[in-house]
C-alpha cells in the first residue's frame, strides 16, 4: 500500500486452522469418543510395517476396547514414499469394508497417503492427477484423525500432501484447506521408539518450519505465537529427546513443538531453506529433516546478506535477530549486542547442529549426506523452481541458489 506503517503488525493477514488437538497421557483413548461425535462408526487405520513392528498399533487398537466402533481394516503396507498406487489400493479396501473415516498412524508418508485416500474417496475420483495442485478439491472430506509417530513434519495440522506418481515420474502436490484433519492426537507412547538420528533430523525439520515461518512474508501475530512457542520447546528438549529417547515428557514436548511449528508454517509458509531441501531430497534423496538441518544456517546467512533488498515492511533482518530470543533464551539474548543478534541466531543453530552431529552423527554438510558435487547445479535449478521460493522474503537467483548449495556442500 501507499501508506505502509513501520509497524510489526502486517497491514493484512489471514490465519486458518480447524484441527482439534488432543495431547497428553492416554490421549489415544479419546479417539473413539471423538469419532462418534463426528458420526463415524468404522475407521480404516493407515500405517506402515515399522509402526506395527514397534508395537504402536496395538495401543491404538486397544483404545477402542469396549466401544461401539469397529476398525474396518489396518492397512500396514504404506511404503516410505507415498504413491498413487498405494492410495488407490487403500481406497479400494476402504470401499470394500464399508469404512466411513480414516485414522493415519505414522510419519509423513502414512499421513500423506491417508490424505490422498481421503481425496480419492471424498472426490469420488479414480485419478489423483486431475486433482493435483492448489485448491482443486471441492467436496467435504471424511472424518480424518492423525496420530503422528515422528515429531517433525507437522502434517497433522497442515493442508498439504505430496504423493508420488512413479509411472509418470512426478511428485503430485495437493493443497486445500479441505484436507485438514479433524483431529490430531499427540500421545507420548507414540513417539518413544524413534531412533536418535531420526529424532534429531525430524526435530530440525520442525525447527526449520518455525524459523522460516517466523521470518516469512506471511508471518502474523498468530503464526508468530506458535512459531516462538515451538522454538522454545525445541531449544529446551531437542538434545534430551535425542539422548534420552525413552523419556515420555521430553517426547511429548517435541511432539507439541512439531505441531506448533506446523500450525505456524501452514499459515506463514516456508522459504529458501525448504526450497533447497526439497530440491536436495528430490535429486539426491537426502532425508528432508537432514537437508533442512544442514541448509538452515546457510539459508539464514543468505537472508542476512540480502536483507537490504527485502521490502522494508518485511523487517527481515530484525526478524532474524528476534529469532535469537526463543532460540537461545533471554539471558543469552541479552549478552549478544543488538547488531550481532542476526548472526548470533545463525551461530546458535550451527552450535546446535554441531552438537547433534557429535551425539548421533547428524550430517552438517551435504557432502556427508550423500550429495555428489556434480549434482549441485541441478539442485540449484530445482531450488529456484520449487514452490516454497515464492515465500522467500527476497528474490533468489540461480547463481545465489548455487552459492548457497555450494556453501552447504
Amino acid at each position: 500500500m501507499f501508506f505502509m506503517k513501520d509497524n510489526t503488525l502486517p497491514e493484512y493477514y489471514e490465519f486458518f486452522n480447524s484441527v482439534k488437538v488432543i495431547s497428553g497421557y492416554k490421549a489415544l483413548e479419546n479417539i473413539p469418543y471423538e469419532l462418534s461425535q463426528l458420526g463415524a462408526k468404522k475407521p480404516i487405520i493407515i500405517t506402515d510395517k515399522g509402526i506395527v513392528k514397534a508395537g504402536l498399533i496395538k495401543h491404538v487398537i486397544k483404545s477402542f476396547q469396549g466401544t461401539k466402533i469397529t476398525i474396518g481394516a489396518v492397512y500396514d503396507d504404506t511404503p516410505v514414499d507415498s504413491s498413487n498406487v498405494v492410495v488407490d489400493e487403500i481406497a479400494e479396501i476402504y470401499r470394500q469394508k464399508g469404512c466411513d473415516s480414516i485414522i493415519a498412524v505414522g510419519g509423513g508418508s502414512a499421513i500423506d497417503t491417508a490424505k490422498g485416500v481421503n481425496i480419492v474417496i471424498s472426490e469420488d475420483s479414480d485419478d489423483l492427477l486431475k486433482l493435483m495442485g492448489n485448491n482443486r478439491l471441492t467436496k467435504p472430506m471424511k472424518p480424518f484423525v492423525v496420530i503422528p509417530t515422528t515429531a517433525g513434519t507437522g502434517s497433522e495440522v497442515t493442508m498439504a500432501a505430496v504423493i508420488a506418481n512413479p509411472s509418470k515420474n512426478v511428485k503430485m502436490q495437493f493443497t486445500s484447506a479441505l484436507m485438514l484433519p479433524k483431529l490430531a492426537v499427540l500421545d507420548p507412547r507414540m513417539t518413544l521408539s524413534m531412533p536418535a538420528r531420526i529424532t534429531a533430523a525430524t526435530s530440525m525439520d520442525a525447527l526449520t518450519h518455525a524459523v522460516e515461518a517466523f521470518i516469512g512474508p506471511q508471518k502474523n501475530p498468530i503464526s508468530d505465537a506458535f512459531a516462538t512457542a515451538a522454538i522454545e520447546l525445541i531449544r529446551d528438549n531437542i538434545v534430551d529427546a535425542v539422548k534420552h529417547g525413552g523419556n515420555a515428557d521430553v517426547r511429548l514436548a517435541m511432539a507439541n513443538a512439531a505441531l506448533l511449528a506446523g500450525l505456524a508454517f501452514s499459515n506463514s509458509m516456508v522459504g529458501i531453506v525448504h526450497a533447497a531441501a526439497h530440491a536436495t531430497g528430490g535429486i539426491c534423496h537426502v532425508p528432508h529433516g537432514v537437508a533442512n538441518s544442514i541448509l538452515l544456517p546457510h539459508g539464514l546467512d543468505l537472508y542476512i546478506r540480502k536483507s537490504g533488498e527485502a521490502k522494508k515492511a518485511l523487517h527481515l533482518k530484525q526478524n532474524i535477530e528476534k529469532v535469537l530470543l526463543p532460540l537461545a533464551g533471554p539471558e543469552q539474548y541479552m549478552k549478544v549486542p543488538a547488531r550481532e543478534r542476526a548472526q548470533g541466531a545463525v551461530k546458535a543453530i550451527r552450535d546446535l547442529t554441531a552438537n547433534l552431529n557429535k551425539i548421533c552423527g547428524l550430517p552438517v554438510r551435504l557432502s556427508q549426506a550423500g550429495v555428489i558435487e556434480n549434482s549441485l547445479p541441478e539442485i540449484a535449478q530445482a531450488t529456484i523452481n520449487d514452490g516454497a521460493i515464492a515465500f522467500s522474503p527476497v528474490e533468489v537467483s540461480y547463481e545465489e541458489a548455487l552459492a548457497l548449495i555450494k556453501a552447504a556442500f
Binding site: 500500500m1 501507499f2 502486517p10 497491514e11 493484512y12 493477514y13 489471514e14 493435483m132 495442485g133 492448489n134 485448491n135 482443486r136 502436490q173 493443497t175 512474508p217 506471511q218 533488498e309 521490502k311 523452481n385 520449487d386 514452490g387 521460493i389 515464492a390 515465500f391 527476497v394 528474490e395
Partner: protein, 179 residues
Amino acid sequence: MKKKKEYREIVPSESWFKSTLVRITLYLLGLGIQEACNLDPRAKKEMEKLPDPFTFSIGIHDGIAATVQKKGGKMKYLRVINEKIQADLELRFKNLEYTYLAMTGRMSTPNLGYHFRQYIKGDLARMMTMIRIMNIAQTLLFPNIIVRFYIKKVPRLTVRTMINRVIAYINIFGLSAFK
C-alpha cells in the same frame, strides 16, 4: 418494525471505472505474455518448460479473466474468452477491488499472494514459471517505475529491453488498432 416487503434484495452494482480499467490491464497483460514469449529469450525458455497444450488464466474470482494458451510451441493470447476452456492453471484475485489495486500498482503482486488476496488453482511449480514470464511481460510493457510495485526485484534496464519494449508496443497497439 419494518414490513416484510421492505426488506429488499441488493443486487451488486457494477463498478464501471474499475472493471474497465481491470479489463484493459488484463488485456495488456495477456498480450504482454504472448509478446514476451515471442521476443524475450528468457521468457521463451521459461515457456518451453510448460506442457503443450497448456492454458493459463488470470483474473477475478467468478469474473473476467485473460487467458493465454501455449499450443504448438507458441504462446497465444486468447482474445475471446471461451467459457468452455478449462484452464490448466488459474490465478484469481478474490475481489475486483484487489485486482484494481494491484493493476494500478497500489498493491504489489507478491503482497497479494502473501495476504491470501488471490488464490492459485493448479500446480504451484507451473505458477512459478508463469510468474517469471509475467514479470518479464511486465518489464516489457510498463516503465520501471511502475514495475517496481509488481515484482520483488526490478531487472536492470538494458538496450535490449528498450528495443523489445518498442516492438511489443508496436505489436500490441499497432496490430490491435489495425485488425
